[in-house]
């Protein structure tokens, strides 16, 4: 019980230390995950904020243009050109494709408007697309007047639903508004180059504009800035956090048709996207319009910001747990093994103390002990037993002629033969050089003792093979019986001894019964 309880100890150590390892691993994994998450949240917020700030900067620029028309007419082409030139739309504002003016033209004023534009030198000016509409919103000036911005004027922004929606919003709110995804009018044909337009309303000078109705009544046109999404994104300040894939979609629609910009592997598609990638959508509002920002981490992000301490803890922890358990096992079983060794040694010592080292038979002490026990038993139950003394005849010449080794071997063989001849309840011992003694328990009578003695005499007489040499030997036996020849050990021993000597004197190789 105690040992089995002790054997539980290494298992307990293993379970406990593995448990601690698991706790640490889990904690570390979670804190690592939390850190990545915080980094990701920061990147998301940072990206949104960079886009918003850029939009705000462009809005501010456009407000400048709006402000210009608080001091001069919208048709003052030179003032507008000079103003945009002064802005020095350099690389810092490379996101802007162009800044322009849209005039609100009610159908009644259409022909006068076209005529006025033609007088300014735009000989083939016309409002496109053709057709009669209640209100027109033709682009009447684009600056800087270079490259693609030289595209023909007169394109009717009000006729195009996406543009019109933003223009209405700007008119009603008095604030900047951004259109949905559009193909810019200056972009020729099929090239897929998503863009958007920011518009600000221009109201007639001196007119009230405090309510929606007043704003609608005093609106005379819009100023706008047009952007290619690619250029706009390239003009953002700051640096995108590496290892992130992101996409921007128009409105809350995340289908391919609404895609405006994409950087890195598309979120949600296979590729270098990390196995347990973090991802998030954010609906950002830029000048009243919604863009969906889709951000997700790639492997590079985790490699850069993640720590692999959790797996280090796991491996080290499991290793240490196993070592500690093993150490515990050694300590516990080491004690048990030492105890077993001690017990074995004690047993061996006891055996050595009670047995003859040459033949392994009980020695005089053990034999005497057995005799005492037999005596007590016989006295209590009234039984009988016999003691047979045996001495080998002419043993000394064998020792002298063939050496002690042969003599010893012969003694061992005789001992075995003696042991094989007796019953399990009997004892045979060696009490001196070539002297043996047999205790025969539970005897029916002296005849049975003589019978056993005779059997022994015959067995010993059989030739013995020692080191390939055939040897012959005989023995003389003396038998004493309890209680017939004595009732104590000494008397019985003496009687058996004397009988044995009588057998020797009577010519050896024979048996003498005491009495």
């Amino acid at each position: 019980m105690a040992v089995s309880r002790l054997l539980l100890l290494p298992w307990l150590i293993l379970v406990a230390s593995l448990g601690v390892t698991a706790l640490l691993w889990d904690h570390e994994r979670q804190s690592n995950r939390g850190e990545l998450r915080a980094q990701f949240d920061f990147a998301l917020r940072d990206t949104v904020s960079r886009v918003e700030q850029r939009v705000a900067a462009y809005e501010q620029l456009l407000r400048g243009v709006q402000g210009l028309f608080a001091t001069t007419d919208m048709t003052n082409r030179k003032a507008f050109r000079d103003y945009v030139e002064t802005l020095q739309l350099d690389a810092n504002f490379s996101g802007i494709q162009g800044v322009g003016i849209i005039e609100r033209v009610p159908s009644a004023h259409k022909s006068a408007h076209v005529a006025a534009m033609r007088r300014l030198g735009y000989a083939d000016y016309r409002i496109s697309p053709d057709g009669e509409r209640e209100i027109y919103g033709p682009i009447i000036q684009r600056e800087p007047h270079v490259g693609r911005n030289r595209a023909p004027l007169g394109s009717d922004a009000w006729a195009e639903p996406v543009r019109r929606s933003a223009m209405e919003k700007a008119r009603d709110s008095g604030l900047a508004a951004v259109t949905g995804k559009v193909q810019l009018a200056v972009d020729p044909g099929v090239e897929e180059n998503p863009g958007f337009i920011m518009v600000l309303p221009v109201f007639a000078r001196g007119q009230p504009r405090d309510s929606v109705a007043q704003r609608r009544a005093s609106l005379i046109g819009w100023v706008y800035a047009s952007f290619h999404m690619r250029d706009f994104m390239a003009s953002l300040y700051g640096k995108q956090v590496p290892g992130l894939a992101f996409a921007i979609y128009d409105d809350v629609d995340t289908t391919d048709g609404a895609l405006m910009y994409r950087a890195g592997t598309v979120p949600g598609k296979r590729g270098t996207v990390a196995h347990d990638a973090l991802s998030a959508n954010e609906y950002m509002i830029v000048a009243g319009h919604t863009w969906t920002l889709m951000l997700s981490t790639q492997e590079e992000f985790e490699a850069r910001y993640g720590r692999d301490t959790a797996s280090v803890i796991a491996v080290t922890g499991v290793g240490l747990s196993l070592s500690m358990a093993l150490l515990g096992w050694f300590m516990v079983t080491g004690r048990a093994r030492a105890l077993r060794l001690a017990a074995e040694m004690t047993e061996e010592l006891r055996h050595m103390a009670q047995h003859d080292p040459l033949t392994g038979l009980p020695n005089r002490a053990l034999f005497s002990d057995r005799v005492q026990r037999q005596l007590a038993d016989a006295k209590r139950h009234g039984g009988r037993f016999a003691m047979i003394f045996l001495d080998l005849d002419n043993f000394k010449p064998i020792n002298d002629n063939y050496g002690h080794a042969v003599g010893d071997r012969l003694l061992q063989l005789v001992a075995r033969r003696l042991q094989d001849s007796i019953r399990a309840s009997d004892t045979v011992g060696r009490i001196g050089g070539d002297e043996f003694v047999v205790l025969m328990a539970d005897l029916s009578g002296p005849d049975a003792a003589l019978g056993l003695a005779e059997k022994i005499r015959e067995v010993v007489r059989q030739p013995l093979l020692v080191d390939g040499r055939e040897l012959n030997i005989s023995c003389s036996l003396g038998v004493a019986v309890y209680p017939d020849n004595g009732t104590d050990e000494m008397t019985l021993t003496k009687c058996a001894d004397e009988s044995m000597y009588r057998a020797k004197a009577g010519g050896r190789d024979c048996i003498q019964l005491a009495g």
């Binding site: 998450r37 919003k169 604030l175 929606v212 409105d251 998030a280 959508n281 954010e282 509002i285 009243g288």
Partner: protein, 260 residues
Amino acid sequence: MRVRHLIAWLIVLAWFGPANAAAPDCSRPFTLALHDHGLLYSADTDTGIDKDVAEELIRRSGCKITVSLMARARIWQLIESGALDFSLSGITDVEREKFAAFAWYFSNRYYLLVHKDSGVRNQTDFEKNEKLQLGVIRSFRYSESANRMVDRIQAANRLTQAGGLAPLYKALMLNHIQGMIIEPFDYPTLEEKKIRDVTSIIEFKDVSVPHGLIMSQKALPSAERAKWGQLINAMRADGTMRRIFEKYFKPDLAAAMVDF
């Protein structure tokens, strides 16, 4: 006798003196930002409760205040940095107490608006279902249990943030998100049939949360903040605030919000 009278007058003057001096110091122009949020302020129409409150504040203080429109997250950033003096309809928390001061003028409860297909019947249903995404406006805080829910959902990577309410409604219609947190100002939107048909409302079991004028601690000295707070209190006391709310809500709801 005369001396005694004089002393009495001095005491009376000293007592009422601060009331006269309660008008804020207008020696510099101030900035106030609105955020687009249902009846509080709609950029589309340039109208709303907050705009009316702002105009009343301008009228009563006699100060020049430039009113502009910003994302709520940016408003909090600027209030913290001191670049912005005021905003409206703010609620407080431990963080905000460090950089902002408030003068309360109404109080309301929060509601969880869920898509009917989500099968959500209460707050716990929503929290437990890992498939459901919650949409919130970036930097918005709510009542106590709503805040706890938002924080837990964010930790589970189930939060979708937005710069305003409009995209959240759209996303809820498209079932991209399954829930969002709303306030009484959002009721008119809910009256739209297409939204009402696919959603249901769950009330958070929290007490109503006071909303108020947000004042930047960095931009305004404590004494000035107290004066602006008194202006708000005066608006509540003389019924002006209630009249503003009654323009937008039924009288009983307006009263419930303003009298707290």
